[in-house]
């Protein structure tokens, strides 16, 4: 019983860590621009696919991984420059359609260039499972959790201890006020897209040895990242991490104990329930309307 529970828990937090990274990506962009970036999932896909491609091309693993993070970051910046900046202040629906257009372009190009097959990446440090109280943990899971934890700490440091980080936070609270005290909000927008694309790609790379990847995995991963971000309260970084882990755990438990066919539906059932009772997510503050 315990072994089974632990098994579900391990696979839940592993996948949940990827959702958490995606949710952090949503949060960064949302804070900088109020845009929900529906292309976020494509960065996850792109990270995994590029890593596979570069490793197959014979590049050493570290080089391949850096490139597989750098290229999505550039794509993210391009989206911001070419498609988001020109329509600043547009309606939510317009912005949603633009980012969905971007996700279609990325997904389409990937399928043209890399084909529609399913790919895998060798695990970073072997496939010998670790036995914990009867449940098994893959070494790759430790990579996923360890790197995610590092990223979270690094982000916390960036946003609370560095000037650039504080500038980004200030912009998310009040863009106009931030501009008045001399913060370059254009740069903030640029950084937030680069960072969230890189975060997504990183998650995609780490999880690929476990879940495999193909050109179309981005949609569901992205939508679940969105669920995680909303669950934690849109714009709340800590909420995004907690939301991601919760979504991952719920999904794994649901698949294990209830129905594996409805695994993909669980995050959406959860978010509907949460929103019914807590319209601004778990950690979202109360809001007042300005008339």
């Amino acid at each position: 019983m315990l072994a089974q529970f632990l098994q579900f828990l391990f696979s839940g937090i592993t996948v949940g860590a990827t959702y958490a990274l995606a949710a952090l990506g949503f949060t960064l962009i949302y804070n900088a621009s109020n845009v929900i970036n529906f292309a976020q999932g494509e960065f996850i896909m792109l990270g995994g696919m590029l890593a596979v491609f570069f490793v197959q091309a014979g590049l050493p693993l570290p080089v391949a991984l850096v490139l597989a993070i750098l290229i999505p970051a550039i794509v993210g910046v391009l989206i911001e420059k070419l498609a988001i900046e020109p329509v600043r202040g547009a309606e939510t629906v317009t912005l949603i359609i633009i980012t969905i257009g971007a996700s279609l372009v990325i997904r389409g190009l990937t399928s043209v260039i890399f084909g529609k097959g399913t790919h895998s990446l060798p695990a970073f440090s072997g496939e010998t499972p670790i036995d914990i109280l009867g449940a098994t943990l893959m070494p790759q899971s430790l990579w996923v959790l360890g790197v995610t934890a590092l990223v979270v700490v690094a982000l916390w440091y960036f946003f609370s201890r560095t000037l650039q980080g504080k500038a980004m936070l200030a912009t998310s609270y009040n863009r106009l006020a931030a501009e008045l005290v001399g913060i370059n909000t254009g740069w903030v927008l640029f950084m937030s897209f680069a960072m969230s694309a890189a975060l997504g790609a990183l998650g995609g790379i780490l999880i690929t040895p476990i879940t495999l990847t193909s050109y179309d995995v981005g949609i569901m991963l992205g939508l679940k990242g969105f669920v995680a971000a909303v669950l934690g309260g849109l714009g709340n970084g800590l909420g995004a991490v907690v939301g991601g882990l919760l979504v991952g755990i719920l999904e794994a438990m649901g698949a294990g104990y209830i129905s594996s066919a409805y695994k993909d539906a669980m995050p959406f059932v959860l978010i509907l329930f949460i929103l019914f009772f807590m319209p601004r997510g778990l950690f979202g503050g109360k809001s007042t309307d300005r008339v």
Binding site: Y30, I36, A83, P86, V87, A90, E91, T92, V93, T94, I96, I97, I98, I100, G101, A102, S103, L104, V105, I106, R107, G108, L109, S111, V112, I219, L223, F226, V227, V230, L234, A261, Y262, D264, A265, F268, V269, I271, L272, L275, F276, P279, R280, G281, D289, V291
Partner: protein, 310 residues
């Protein structure tokens, strides 16, 4: 301007009447039918999105309920297609009414999330309940008919959907100009202000959500009978996005914009079929470009350019 409200309707009817005599072959008749069906769905969605200012990213889920009601109930339980259609619409209306109250406490991106979730749950359920729905492969739909008369060929279908479309345009124009429509536009402008002047904001939002969901369900049934086949793709997220895009490309809060958006985006995949393998890329690029350069949509942009309202 008041007088010209129906001018557009007369033009639409004129086009619908002339069209079958100028279309060269059945391929174009089929395309015209699908355009008209989408136009009716988009009209309903635009009432919710454009006029009342609420987002729905799960509308294809409602289409799916209607379509599958028309497929499953006659096939497995021997129901009459019309009865199945009505049952689908009733079920959709009920579902929409039940979820609407909590959902419409939400705003903007939270509302987008909730409607998206609802749509995805419906499409996953359709995919999984294979013993009823045929699972991912879908299932055939029996022909629509009554009193021993069956709708079979494209010409008959064309006239049916042409009438449906004309009636929908007429009904939408009237609805917008009614107290109900004015209340919707008021709450789009400012919820607080409309509350102050006595508009029951939640009740109106729920009403328009249910109305557009039922619209979608009925047209889901019509599509299912026309195509003769349903598959879960019909209810999926991407289809919801397509419908939303039709609304926005044509023009939010524009009745004729809905028609233009539906016509353009229904034709687009046909036009893109020549780009073997690149369809998705080109489609995505067109979505982005049209939103960047025409954020208000085609019809309102053109109307503003030529200096008159619709």
């Amino acid at each position: 301007m008041k007088k010209s409200v129906y001018n557009g309707l007369y033009i639409v009817i004129a086009i619908l009447v002339v069209l079958p005599f100028v279309l060269p072959n059945s391929f174009y008749v089929d395309l015209a039918i699908r355009m008209a069906i989408n136009a009716v769905i988009v009209l309903g969605l635009n009432l919710l999105v454009g006029f009342a200012g609420q987002i729905s990213l799960g509308h294809a889920g409602f289409l799916g309920i209607g379509a599958y009601a028309s497929a499953v109930l006659p096939t497995h339980f021997g129901w009459h297609p019309l009865l199945a259609m009505a049952a689908g619409a009733a079920a959709t209306g009920l579902l929409a009414a039940v979820v609407a109250r909590p959902i419409f406490k939400l705003k903007g991106n939270y509302l987008a999330m909730a409607t998206l979730g609802l749509g995805i749950i419906i499409s996953i359920a359709l995919r999984n309940e294979a013993q009823w729905t045929g699972g991912p492969d879908g299932m055939p739909v029996p022909a629509m008919g009554m009193f021993g008369f069956e709708l079979t060929n494209d010409k008959q279908w064309y006239w049916v959907v042409a009438i449906l479309l004309s009636v929908s345009v007429w009904a939408s124009l009237n609805l917008i100009d009614s107290p109900f429509g004015r209340a919707l536009r008021a709450l789009h402008g400012s919820e607080v202000a409309s509350q102050v002047v006595g508009v029951d904001v939640v009740r109106y939002k729920v009403a328009i959500f249910v109305l557009s969901a039922v619209f979608a369900s009925l047209m889901g049934s019509v599509t299912a009978h026309y195509v003769g086949f349903v598959s879960p793709n019909f209810a999926d997220f991407f289809h919801s996005i397509e419908l939303m895009t039709m609304v926005v490309i044509g023009g939010m809060a524009s009745v004729y914009g809905s028609l233009v958006g539906a016509v353009l985006l229904t034709a687009l995949p046909q036009a893109l079929a020549t780009f073997e393998g690149w369809e998705t890329v080109v489609f995505g690029a067109i979505l982005m470009l049209s939103m960047i350069f025409l954020p208000k949509g085609l019809v309102p942009t053109l109307a503003a350019k030529f200096g008159k309202g619709e």
